[in-house]
Symmetry: C2
Subunit: 258 residues, 2 copies
């Protein structure tokens, strides 16, 4: 159903969803861009409340949206968009609840993020995790909201496919993981430890922790340290690049095992 | 030498350097942030014309800047900064000339970018390449300016350490590489080809081409196709993530060979 007008109420709602406060209050999030909206429609169509698009955005989407669609001019759309060069389509959706203790991860290892506060990095890691064939992502609470509009754009909606679960700190995360049988605990450390390319138990009932850019990961007692060898001695990798190295080292080993 | 005032002329100059036109006209670029300025000071101090900082920015830098430094208030600095949460330090520097045909790459393989137009991706790839111990990056001309302020921020100044060289198109790049002895030519292809984890000649006198997000890499006749295995069947990786997989597969193989 296409309607030419966006109500004042929904205009205000969309504006509010660019803020964490607005998302928390409404329980909704903003999913913008052709690929993110496509992912949302494919994975969790039941979450969509309504969509806003331009003619160009709908053409690029190339599929029917089974919800109310407000068709706007480019100029009006741009006022609602979080990007400079918009793709002309966004959906307002319910934020899915996070995974609970009953969600037992089926993967051989868990990727965990400690203090990754940049929404672009967080979203990119969601997307890369999904490309690697995994679905569980655990993280410590901090400034990041996985369903913030920037994180969703960077993740191209991969968030909606994942089982995300947050913890107060890395200690609590470790405890929950151990209870589910993930007892090995590896923390990435730029200064030393086993090489991520040779550590034998790296993906065996384990947790692999990637730290944020500002402070790295919390160094828990008895954690095993793992390092990404860096011949260039350049201080450290971006958190999303570090996660990519681990995720695709996992893919490489799995391919070899087949 | 610290001066409390920034001249009108330099204020206008800094503003102009946020645009490609301004950078081209002046031959200068804007290097912003603590780590990027540190890199610039370490690698190419002779390029710096002057710097602008707040007290906080200078403290975070923790080193003497051997050039004219204009000390500004946070509010005045923010008007010049390209970021929302600035780190309070930026330098205006000469853009280094690009590598020429006399610069023979010493690496066993060349990473090449075809149509990577996103400055964040381009900068991240510069940083990751440097972490992997490489210094040559070739690319096809497009919308990207490696010394744009966003690309420098994402690269944390790694650009100043690299030998960058641009070509009109992938065919011209291939020809120049072959002349220097890099005769194998691999193009990443999301649809098929040899696995990047097993292709034996991947880093042996070769070029590895990563495509941009919009259109992928140009498929030249007779190029070898190489694929990043993606168990998740998620459409494709971000260009910077794809580059990271190749760069650290190279590191992994080099570590094994030692």
């Amino acid at each position: 159903m296409k309607t030419p007008e966006l109500s004042r109420r929904n205009t205000a709602l969309i504006r509010s969803l660019h803020t964490r406060h607005g998302r928390k209050k409404s329980g909704l999030c903003l999913c913008e861009g052709v690929r993110a909206v496509t992912e949302l429609c494919t994975l969790r169509p039941e979450l969509i409340r309504f969509a806003v698009a331009t003619e160009r955005g709908l053409a690029a989407l190339g599929r029917e949206l089974l919800c109310e669609v407000n068709l706007l001019s480019e100029a009006t759309f741009d006022e609602l968009s979080g990007t400079v060069h918009s793709q002309g389509v966004l959906a307002v959706a319910e934020t899915p609840p996070e995974a609970g203790s009953a969600d037992v991860p089926q993967e051989p290892f868990l990727l965990a993020l400690d203090g990754v506060g940049d929404p672009g990095n967080f979203g990119t890691i969601c997307r890369t995790l999904r490309a690697a064939g995994l679905e569980t992502l655990w993280y410590t609470r901090g400034s990041i909201d996985p369903f913030g509009d920037k994180a969703i754009r960077a993740g191209m909606g991969a968030q909606f496919a994942l089982k995300l679960r947050s913890f107060a700190d890395l200690g609590a995360l470790r405890e929950a993981a151990a209870e589910l049988g993930f007892r090995r605990f590896y923390v990435t450390d730029p200064h030393g430890g086993e090489s991520c390319f040779t550590a034998p138990g790296l993906f065996d009932h384990s947790v692999v922790v990637i730290g944020g850019e500002a402070n790295g990961a919390t160094m828990l007692a008895d954690a095993e340290h793992v390092i990404i060898p860096m011949p260039g001695k350049f201080e450290s990798l971006n958190a999303a690049q570090a996660a990519t190295v681990f995720l695709f080292e996992y893919v490489r080993r799995s391919e070899g095992a087949r």
